[in-house]
Structures are given as C-alpha cells and as structure tokens.
C-alpha cells in the first residue's frame, strides 16, 4: 500500500516537472520556397470561435477548399476560443506533450497575452510570409495588441470596433456618452445590462478611458494608481445605475449571445458587439429584424484586431504559415470583407495592393444598418494593457456584482 502510494505520487510529480520546448526551430531559417514545398500534403488543425454560421461558412466553403486546391493542405477547423485555447495548450504543456494537437488558432489580445505568458506561441514568423508586405503595419490598431507590440508573433487577420446595437423603433435617440446613458437607464428601468464576459469588460475599458478624459488615458503599461483612481469612478457610476438595470442589477448575462437574445425578445434595449458590422451580418441571417441598427457613442469604443497564431509545439508549422499567408492574401481578405460573407474589415493597406485589387476593395458594397467605418474611426479607442481586463473582471464582481 505504502509503495503503491509512493509510486502514484512519483508519477504525478514526474508529470508536473516538464518545461515547455519550442517545436521545430528550423522553420525560421527556411526560405519561403522551402516552407511552401514542405507544407504540401500536411494537415493543419485550426482552433477558432465557431459561434457565427456566416464566419463558419467562409472558413469551410472558401478557405478550406482554397488551401486544399492551391497548396494541397488539409485544413481542419475545430471549435474553441480564448480560454479553451489557453487551457488546451496549458494542459498539453503540463503533460509534457512534445507535439500539440493544435497547429494554429484565431486569437485576440487577451489570449495573445496569456499565450505569451506560457510561451505557447511560435514566432516571430509574420515577416516570412510573402503577403506581409500588404499588411497595414502603419496602423497602430493593427501593430499593437493590448499595448503589446505584435513583433511578428501573431499575424493580423481582421479589424473590428465595438458597436452598440439597438432597435430603432424602440429607441429614437440612443445615448452618446456615459452621462446620457445614466439618464436614459434611469428613465427606462430594466432595459440595460452589461454582459459579465469579454464584451462587457471591453465596454468597461472604454468607460475607463472616457472617465480619464483623454483617448490616451490608459496608454502604456498597466498603471496601478491610474487604475485605482479611474475604477473608483467607474464603480460609483455603475452602482448608481445598477438598481435601474436589467433584473435590478442582481444578475448579468453570462455572454453576448444571451444579451442578443434579450434584445431580440425586448427585455433590454441595447446589445453590444465587438464587430461593428455584426448587425448587418445578423440581419442577413434573419436573427435580427431589419429595424436593428448599430452605432458608436461619441465617448468612443475599443477598436482592436484579431490575429492568427501558430502553436510553438505544432508539428505542421510550415503548413500553418502557408494557411496564414493565404488568409491575409487580397483574395481572402476581400471575400471576408463582403458584408454578406462576414463584413470583417481588412488588415491590408489597400494603397499597397497590386493590380485591380485596390479598386475591388474600394467598391465593396456598403453597410446598411452598421455605421460606416470612416464615420466611427474618430471614436476608436486603443486596447489598454491586458492587466486592465483582468482587474476589471475581478473588481466588477467584487465592486458591483457582490454589492
């Protein structure tokens, strides 16, 4: 019995002691021709959020067949985002697995931050991609992710800005800043809430910046004193309107899809989206009625980019790089930008494009119920450092939910 227990503990301890290792370090030294040749016949597993049928359709009906026919790469898409990606890779690393089941993934800033914390990303690799020359690196909303320089560790894929969604038949003049919102919420009890997850926290970040009085109010690394000063004002503001919020502020939707549902059913008057074009996308799917519109308050909302990352322990880095290169090609970005396909803004600098691509991008059909990009750009706020998100999530529970 004693020996059995000793054996058990030694097995567990042995499995805890493994440290992460980079997979195939030679990829960084290979020429693109070599990479493209080695990628042929490989199978790439990509983990991504699969919550939108149109986005899924773009991947399965456009990207997957294109990479198969052009490069003979089999791209398998599996569902999972943010936390699921980090958990999966952490578990593999903790178990000492040399090669990951995942090769690449769609990531956002907070996942980028976490994956860098656990050294799970391969790179830098973006400069090796031929289509890197078209990327709009001059745009700081693309070159900087949660105040961290991208440094070639993730490949920009799309760019979005948070927008508010409302029913134009029920709300004639949506509030444009925090002060107007407080008045509106008090005059319309039960019709506003904040989701207790990523999108909700993105809203709180924008409010922190608005409370700072400057667009650059949270620029730079995390600042504890600044956070304390601004977050105190934020909790006072939210707790002031909390009794007038949905369910008297006693509970908050667990996700943005629940918030969308509450908006559709008429329980609340506003929903939020991290994609400024989502309203058109959802109307085309028949999920939202045509009276729904999106807007960006003049107080500003966070604009950020989403990226493609490659797993450091991937056994198919070459093929993953070829897939990334295709996904930032003018052809793939153009298709993705069409409102009836996805409506995701491009990360390419259109002025750098060759042939008739520039004209094609400039002639993409306009948005109908989503605000024009050119109109909301002035209200775009940079993502603050990732620590702000972590602190806001913790303190939203302590200072608002538990009070």
């Amino acid at each position: 019995m004693r020996y059995g227990l000793l054996f058990l503990v030694s097995i567990i301890l042995a499995s805890c002691g493994n440290t992460p290792q980079d997979g195939d370090s030679d990829v960084s030294k290979k020429s693109w021709e070599q990479i493209a040749a080695d990628a042929k016949g490989q199978t790439v597993t990509m983990m991504m959020w699969q919550g939108d049928p149109l986005i899924n359709k773009y991947m399965t009906d456009f990207v997957v067949p294109q990479v198969k026919s052009k490069y003979n790469i089999q791209l398998n898409i599996v569902g999972g985002q943010g936390n699921a990606i980090v958990s999966a890779l952490m578990s593999e690393m903790e178990a000492g697995k040399e090669k990951s089941e995942l090769d690449m993934m769609w990531i956002n800033g907070e996942t980028f931050f976490q994956l860098r914390e656990i050294q799970a990303l391969h790179g830098p690799f973006v400069e090796q991609l031929p289509n890197n020359k078209f990327l709009n690196w001059e745009n700081e909303f693309i070159s900087t992710d949660f105040q961290q320089s991208v440094n070639g560790m993730e490949c920009p894929w799309g760019n979005v800005q948070m927008a508010w969604i409302y029913d134009s038949t029920r709300v004639q003049q949506p509030p444009m800043n925090m002060a107007q919102l407080a008045q509106w919420v008090k005059a319309n009890p039960g019709k506003f809430t904040i989701p207790n997850e990523f999108t909700g926290m993105t809203l709180l970040k924008a409010w922190l910046i608005e409370l700072s009085g400057s667009k650059d109010g949270l620029k730079g690394p995390f600042n504890e004193a600044r956070y304390k000063e601004l977050s105190e004002k934020l909790w006072t503001y939210i707790n002031d309107i909390k009794p007038y919020m949905w369910n008297e502020g006693k509970s908050f939707p667990a996700g943005v899809s629940q918030l969308h549902q509450l908006l559709v059913s008429g329980e609340v008057a506003f929903s939020l989206s991290n994609n400024d074009a989502e309203v058109d996308n959802k109307i085309l799917q028949g999920i939202f009625p045509k009276t729904f519109k999106a807007y960006v308050p003049s107080g500003g909302t966070i604009q950020n980019s989403h990226y493609l990352g490659i797993v450091s322990r991937s056994a198919h880095k070459e093929a993953a790089m070829v897939v990334c290169n295709f996904m930032i090609s003018p052809e793939a970005q153009f298709e993705k930008m069409k409102p009836d396909v996805w409506g995701d803004a491009t990360v390419l600098n259109i002025d750098k494009l060759e042939g008739d691509w520039k004209e094609k991008f400039n002639n993409i059909p306009g948005r109908s119920n989503a605000p024009k990009r050119s109109e909301i750009q002035q209200y775009a706020l940079m993502e603050p450092a990732a620590e702000y998100m972590i602190r806001l999530f913790e303190d939203f529970r302590k200072q608002v939910i538990e009070k």
């Binding site: 805890c16 992460p20 936390n83 914390e117 006693k250 999530f393 529970r397």
Partner: protein, 281 residues
C-alpha cells in the same frame, strides 16, 4: 481461483475508478499549493488563503448546499407522495410518464425551463395575451432570481422521477403490497402503515441512492449556469470561472476549491459510514 478472480476484480476497480480520481485529487492539491502547473513558483499557501478569505468562495459552498438540500427535500416529499399514491392505486401509464423527464439532459432541461419561465418566455407571453400583465417587466422573475426558483424547479423535475421510480421498485422488491393487505386485515390503518412501515422501509433501502444523487447534484453545472444569478454561484460555476477566465493566476484557486469540495464530501461520507444506521451490511 475464486480468490484470484476476486482480487482481479478489486484491482481492476481500483485501477479504473480509484487511481485516476486519486491522481486528479493529488494533482489538484499540488497545483493549489504551487507545486504543479506552468505558472507554479514553488510551495505557497497564498491560493488557499485567498480562497478561504473571500466571501465569494465560501458563499459558493453555502449556495450549492442550499440548492441541493432544497431540491432533494422537495423531490423526496413529492416522490414519497407519488409512490404512496401509486402504491395504493397502481397504474402502468402513470409510471411510464415518469421516464419522460429523464430523457432530457440537464442542459436541455435548463434551456427549456428558461424559455418557459423567463420574462420573455412562454408563460410571460401567455400572461400578456390573456391580459394578466401589461408589460414584460410585470412578469415575476423566476429565472436568475433571488431564491433560485428556476434552478430548483428544473432540478426537481429531473430528480423526483428518479426517486419515485426508486421507491416504487423498493416497494415491489420488499413485497410491501402484501404487507399492506396483511396490516389492513389485522386492523391497522393506512396512516399507521404509511408512517411506520412504508416510509421507514423506503428510506432505509433508498437512502444511499438519495445521498449519492445529492452529491451528484452538487456537481452539476449547466442548469445553475443558465438559470442562476451571477452572485452567488455554485461551486462548479466558481471553479469553471477561475479555471477559464482571464487571470491564469486564479487557476490554483480553482484547484483549491475542488480539493476543498472533495475533502468535504469524503469527510461527509466517512461520517455516514460510521453511523450505525447507515452502515452497509
């Protein structure tokens, strides 16, 4: 040969059922004190201190017990009543209906009740159509509510049929109908039989299933996530949030909570085993 077979069965059970759980428990314990995990920096009690100092974690335990005890108590009362009714007036049709709620996984049941009870749900719409309410806000809050009415109701409909079927099977196996006839023949009345024979026998034979089901109920996740409030949250929702949200440094707290919960359950079971009336013969 007989001894070899018996030993092999015990070994197989330990290898398949006990070792993985024990490994998980020890791993969680090591993780919670900083001795495992990618971000572990050596032995520390910091995560335990944080967990035990936060009202959030302790409230999760209390809230989980509240939900479990309430659901089990209501389900048992209803199951005893239904079993007694069926015992006196047997009907195959009324028993077969009990299997219906068991076909729904908790996630589906949670969603179904959400769409029935929520302010924009079916009941609310019918109330509006019939003129009972004028606005959606007038409908009482039965989901994500203060008393967790929605959770208790959903779990009740998942649990009470199981208990009823269990009690009916016990009454059949113990030949209670024959005993009932004899008791009445000898001048006993229904109430006496119910109180002194029916209930004690059903409880005595079914109590372990009830306890094990209560432990299982404490570990459910979906129903409490869909129908519960943001605060307090059940142990499972607490663990999942700590495991999978933005702060990787909170993961050890999730492991600490799972160790705490497992230890509490182990102690509870050990105490039960030591009680005279609960000993398994």
């Amino acid at each position: 040969m007989q001894g070899f077979k018996k030993n092999s069965a015990v070994f197989l059970f330990i290898a398949i059922a006990v070792v993985p759980v024990l490994c998980g428990f020890i791993y969680s314990l090591l993780y919670s004190v900083g001795l495992a995990g990618l971000l572990g920096k050596g032995f520390t009690l910091e995560h335990w201190e944080k967990l035990l100092a936060s009202s959030d974690g302790l409230m999760s335990i209390g809230y989980t017990f509240y939900l479990t005890i309430t659901t089990i108590a209501l389900s048992m009362i209803m199951a005893f009543a239904y079993a007694w009714y069926h015992f006196r007036q047997p009907s195959e049709r009324s028993v077969s209906k009990l299997y219906l709620p068991l076909l729904f996984p908790p996630l589906v049941a949670g969603m179904a009740w959400y769409f029935v009870l929520s302010p924009s749900g079916l009941l609310s719409r019918w109330s509006y159509a019939l003129g009972f309410i004028q606005r959606v806000e007038d409908f009482p809050r039965w989901v994500n509510d203060d008393f967790s009415f929605g959770i208790i109701l959903t779990q009740f409909f998942l649990v009470f049929p199981i208990f009823t079927l269990l009690f009916l099977n016990i009454s059949k196996k113990e030949n209670l109908r024959e005993l009932y006839r004899t008791a009445l023949h000898l001048g006993g009345d229904k109430r006496y039989f119910f109180k002194n024979i029916f209930l004690p026998i059903l409880w005595s034979k079914g109590k372990w299933v009830v306890v094990l089901y209560a432990i299982f109920l404490m570990g459910t996740y979906e129903v409490t996530l869909i129908l519960g409030q943001t605060n307090p949250r059940t142990i499972t929702v607490f663990i999942m949030e700590k495991l999978s949200k933005y702060n990787l440094n909170d993961i050890p707290q999730a492991h600490a909570m799972s160790v705490l919960y497992s230890t509490m359950m182990l102690l509870f079971m050990m105490i039960l085993f030591r009680l005279k009336n609960w000993r398994i013969a």
